[in-house]
C-alpha cells in the first residue's frame, strides 16, 4: 500500500516531551501533512455556512458596519469623546474594528473548532492541526470580505494610501498569529471547562476597551501605560499605521511583541498536540 510508511507508532504513558526533537519534528510534519485536509475543511465550512444563509457573505461585514455606525453616531453626538484621529473617524473606527474583530476571531477560532469538531475528534484519529488551520483560513476569508468594505470606505473618504502598505499584511498576519497562539493555549482547556470560553468572551469586551480601537493611542497617563502594555496595541496599531500614515510610532514594541508571538505560537502548537488526547478522552462519544 502506498501510504504505509513502515514506521512503528507507539502509544505509551511516556511523555513525548522527553524527546523534544522528535516531538517538534512530528508536530510540524503533521501540520504540513494536514494542509490538504485543512483546505477541504475550509471549503466545506465556508460552503456549508453560506449555502444555508439567505444573506450569504453579507454576514461577514454586517456586524462591523453596525458597530462602526454606532460608534460614529456616538462620537458625532459627543456621547463618547475621542481625540483627533489620523484619518476621518468613521473610516478609522471601521478599519480598527475590522482589525480587532479579526484578532478576536483568530483567538476564538481554535476554541471554536475544538468544540465544533467534537464528533470528529472523538471518533477519528487525524491531524487535529487541520482544524486549527481551517479555522485560520476562515478568519482570513472573513477578513478578505471585510477588506472590500474597507476599500470602499477608503475610496469614499479619499484617504491616501502610503507605500508602506505593502508591509501591512505582515503586521496583520502577526496580529492573527498572536490571536491563534493564545487560542492554541486555551483550546484544550476550553474543551475541559466551559468556563474558558465564557471568560474569553467576557475578556474580549474589556480587552477591546484597553486597545486603541475606537480611540487613538493615548499619549500620557496611567491609561496610556496600560494600553502600551497591551500586546495587541502594538500589532493592531502598527497594521493601521502601515496602511494609513506610513509612520510606525513604536517599532520596538512591535518587534518585541512579534518575537513573543512566534514563541507563543510555537509552544502553543506543541501544547495543543500534547493536551488534546486528554481532552478527547473527556469529551465523551
Amino acid at each position: 500500500m502506498s501510504r504505509s510508511k513502515v514506521t512503528e507508532i507507539v502509544y505509551s504513558p511516556e511523555s513525548p516531551v522527553r524527546y523534544p526533537a522528535k516531538l517538534i519534528l512530528e508536530t510540524f510534519n503533521e501540520l504540513y501533512a494536514s494542509r490538504s485536509l485543512a483546505w477541504r475543511m475550509l471549503v466545506r465550512n465556508i460552503q456549508g455556512q453560506y449555502r444555508r444563509a439567505f444573506l450569504g457573505v453579507l454576514w461577514a461585514f454586517v456586524p462591523s458596519v453596525v458597530m462602526a455606525a454606532t460608534f460614529t453616531l456616538a462620537e458625532r453626538a459627543n456621547v463618547i469623546r475621542v481625540g483627533p484621529t489620523d484619518i476621518p473617524y468613521p473610516a478609522y473606527v471601521v478599519f480598527s474594528l475590522i482589525l480587532w474583530q479579526t484578532f478576536l476571531e483568530s483567538l476564538n477560532s481554535p476554541i471554536r473548532v475544538v468544540r465544533a469538531g467534537h464528533s470528529l475528534l472523538t471518533r477519528v484519529k487525524f491531524p487535529s492541526q487541520a482544524l486549527i488551520l481551517s479555522g485560520l483560513g476562515e478568519v482570513l476569508f472573513n477578513f478578505g470580505i471585510k477588506l472590500v468594505l474597507l476599500v470602499v470606505m477608503f475610496a469614499a473618504f479619499r484617504i491616501p494610501i502610503p507605500s508602506t502598505i505593502v508591509f501591512a499584511p505582515l503586521a496583520l498576519i502577526l496580529l492573527v498569529l498572536f490571536g491563534t497562539a493564545l487560542g492554541l493555549w486555551l483550546a484544550p482547556f476550553s474543551g475541559l471547562y466551559e468556563d474558558v470560553a465564557r471568560v474569553t468572551e467576557l475578556a474580549g469586551g474589556i480587552w477591546m476597551l484597553l486597545t486603541p480601537v475606537i480611540y487613538p493611542v493615548p499619549a500620557e497617563g496611567m491609561f496610556a501605560q496600560v494600553v502600551k502594555l497591551n500586546p495587541v496595541t502594538h500589532l493592531l496599531v502598527t497594521t493601521r499605521e502601515l496602511s494609513t500614515t506610513g509612520l510606525v510610532s513604536d517599532p520596538l514594541g512591535f518587534w518585541i511583541v512579534s518575537v513573543a508571538t512566534l514563541v507563543l505560537l510555537f509552544s502553543g502548537c506543541l501544547v495543543f498536540r500534547l493536551a488534546m488526547p486528554f481532552v478527547v478522552e473527556r469529551m465523551g462519544n
Partner: protein, 452 residues
C-alpha cells in the same frame, strides 16, 4: 444464504507471521464523576507537558480501571474479535489503539496504517453533496486528493446509492449515510481496520457486500479488529477472539472457544458456569426448586464427554439434573440455532412432542437426546435447553450451550445430513441392456476393473 460463503471465504485466508498490532500490558483508568474527571484531565495535561512519565498502577479517588493489564497481538491478515458485555472496555480499547486517547500503563505498537470504523461518516457535512463528502471524509481518513480521485469510482460503485450522490447528505436515509461512510472507510485500504459495531447497518444485500469486501481486504493482508455483540458476526469473521469483562482480559483463544465461554457467562450471568471440553457445568441456583440442570454436554457411546460432534455420525446430548421432588410428565426441549452471520433456528426438538415424557424421582438423573445420526452440517451452533412440564411450566433453562459440529467428507456442499441407502435392484430389463449403454447408469461397475 451468504452465511456459508462468509465462513468459507473469510476463514480460509492465510495469516502472516508479522505482528502489525501489539498491545502490551495496557491499562486505562477512567473517572465517572464529571468534575473530578475534568480535574484529573488537567493534572494529566500538566504531567504530560512537564515531561514526567504517567505510567501508573494506582487509581485516584473515584477512578476505576476501564482496562487493566490487557495484552494481545494481531498478525497481518488476522481477524480478531473483541467480545464482552457493555462496559467491558471494548470501545475504550479501540480508541486507545486508534490513538485517540493515551494509555495509563503499558504500550500499543502499531505497524502500518490504521482506519477506524468507530462511527461511519464522521465529519460528514449535511449541507454538502455525497460527492463532496466522499472527498472530505476520505481526506480525514488520511488520503491525498490523488488517491481519492483514483478510488472515487469504486467508492460510488460500492455505496450504490445511485443519483443521490449529487444530493446533500442531509436528504439521505440513515442507511444510505452509513453505506457511504462504510464505502469511504473501507476504500482507504488500511493495514489494520478497526470495526466497532458498524456491520449492523444497511440491508442484507449491503451487509453481504461488506463481508465480501472484508474478505477481499484480508486476502490482501489487512488485519481486522472487530467489536460486536453478535456472536454470529464474530464467529463467521474472526479466527481468534478476545473476551473482555470489566476491563480484564478473561480469555483469548480460538473464536469458538471464546464465544462459548462468553455466551455461557451471558446466559447464566454467573461466572462459575464453565464450558470446557464440550461440557457445561452449572452452579447451584437459588429459586429453582423442583428440578435443576447441573451439567450438560455431548457424550460418546461410552458416556465420555466429547468436545465436538461430527456431522453424519451419531451423537448424544446428555443433561444431568438434580431432582428434588417426584415429577411426572417432564419434557426435555432442545432448540438449536446456527451461528452464522444470521442466527437461524434449525431444530426445535421437544421430547413430549415425540410422545416421550419422563417421570422423575428425587436424586440425580440423566436425560439424554440421541441424534442418530446428527443431521447438522458442519459449523457452530448454540442450543437452548430446558425442562418443562405441560405447556407452560419451565423448571430450568440453559440459554446457550455452544457447540461445534465437525465436518465429514460425505457432507461436502450439503446443507444437512440425509440418512440414506443405495441399492441396485437387479431387474431383467436393466441386465439385458448392452454393456456400453448400461455404463451411463452404472459408472462404478464399469470403472471397477480399472481401479483394481
Amino acid at each position: 444464504m451468504f452465511g456459508i460463503r462468509e465462513n468459507f471465504v473469510l476463514k480460509t485466508t492465510s495469516i502472516g507471521t508479522d505482528v502489525v498490532l501489539s498491545v502490551e500490558g495496557l491499562s486505562k483508568r477512567f473517572c465517572r464523576a464529571l468534575k473530578r474527571s475534568m480535574y484529573y484531565g488537567l493534572l494529566d495535561i500538566v504531567t504530560e507537558l512537564s515531561g514526567r512519565n504517567r505510567q501508573t498502577e494506582t487509581l485516584r479517588h473515584e477512578e476505576f480501571w476501564a482496562l487493566k493489564d490487557v495484552s494481545f497481538q494481531v498478525r497481518r491478515g488476522e481477524a480478531i474479535g473483541l467480545v464482552g458485555p457493555n462496559g467491558a472496555g471494548k470501545t475504550t480499547l479501540l480508541r486507545l489503539i486508534s490513538g485517540l486517547i493515551r494509555p495509563d500503563a503499558g504500550a500499543i505498537r502499531v505497524n502500518g496504517t490504521l482506519a477506524p470504523l468507530l462511527a461511519l461518516g464522521a465529519g460528514f457535512n449535511p449541507a454538502l453533496s455525497g460527492r463532496e463528502n466522499i472527498y472530505l471524509n476520505m481526506s480525514v481518513l488520511g488520503l491525498t486528493r490523488k488517491e481519492i480521485d483514483e478510488r472515487y469510482e469504486s467508492v460510488i460503485a460500492f455505496a450504490d446509492i445511485g443519483d443521490a450522490i449529487k444530493a446533500p447528505v442531509q436528504t439521505y436515509s440513515s442507511g444510505m449515510g452509513a453505506r457511504l461512510g462504510f464505502a469511504c472507510a473501507i476504500h482507504t485500504e488500511p493495514d489494520i481496520l478497526l470495526i466497532d459495531e458498524v456491520l449492523a447497518v444497511g440491508d442484507m444485500t449491503f451487509r453481504a457486500k461488506c463481508y465480501r469486501k472484508l474478505a477481499e481486504l484480508r486476502e490482501k493482508g489487512t488485519s481486522l479488529v472487530l467489536v460486536s455483540h453478535s456472536p454470529a458476526a464474530v464467529l463467521s469473521i474472526c479466527d481468534t477472539a478476545v473476551y473482555l469483562s470489566k476491563g480484564q482480559l478473561i480469555l483469548k483463544d480460538a473464536t469458538e472457544r471464546v464465544m462459548s465461554r462468553y455466551e455461557q457467562d451471558m446466559a447464566v450471568g454467573h461466572k462459575s458456569s464453565v464450558q470446557s471440553a464440550g461440557q457445561m457445568l452449572l452452579p447451584e441456583r437459588e429459586g429453582i426448586t423442583a428440578l435443576q440442570i447441573m451439567r450438560l454436554g455431548f457424550v460418546d457411546e461410552e458416556g465420555e464427554s466429547v468436545e465436538a460432534i461430527q456431522s453424519a455420525k451419531p451423537a448424544k446430548l446428555s443433561v444431568t439434573c438434580r431432582v428434588l421432588e417426584s415429577l411426572k410428565g417432564v419434557s426435555l426441549c432442545v432448540l438449536i440455532d446456527e451461528l452464522s452471520a444470521h442466527r437461524t433456528r434449525v431444530l426445535v426438538l421437544e421430547s413430549a412432542r415425540d410422545g416421550k415424557s419422563f417421570s422423575l424421582s428425587p436424586g440425580e438423573t440423566v436425560l439424554s437426546l440421541k441424534l442418530s445420526p446428527c443431521g447438522l452440517k458442519p459449523g457452530s451452533y448454540t442450543a437452548k435447553v430446558y425442562l418443562k412440564q405441560g405447556k407452560m411450566h419451565i423448571f430450568d433453562l440453559v440459554e446457550s450451550f455452544v457447540f461445534k459440529v465437525e465436518p465429514d467428507p460425505k457432507m461436502v456442499q450439503c446443507g444437512f445430513y440425509q440418512p440414506r441407502g443405495w441399492e441396485v435392484e437387479a431387474t431383467p430389463v436393466i441386465s439385458s441392456v448392452p454393456a456400453d449403454e448400461s455404463a451411463v447408469s452404472q459408472p462404478a461397475a464399469r470403472l471397477e476393473p480399472f481401479i483394481k
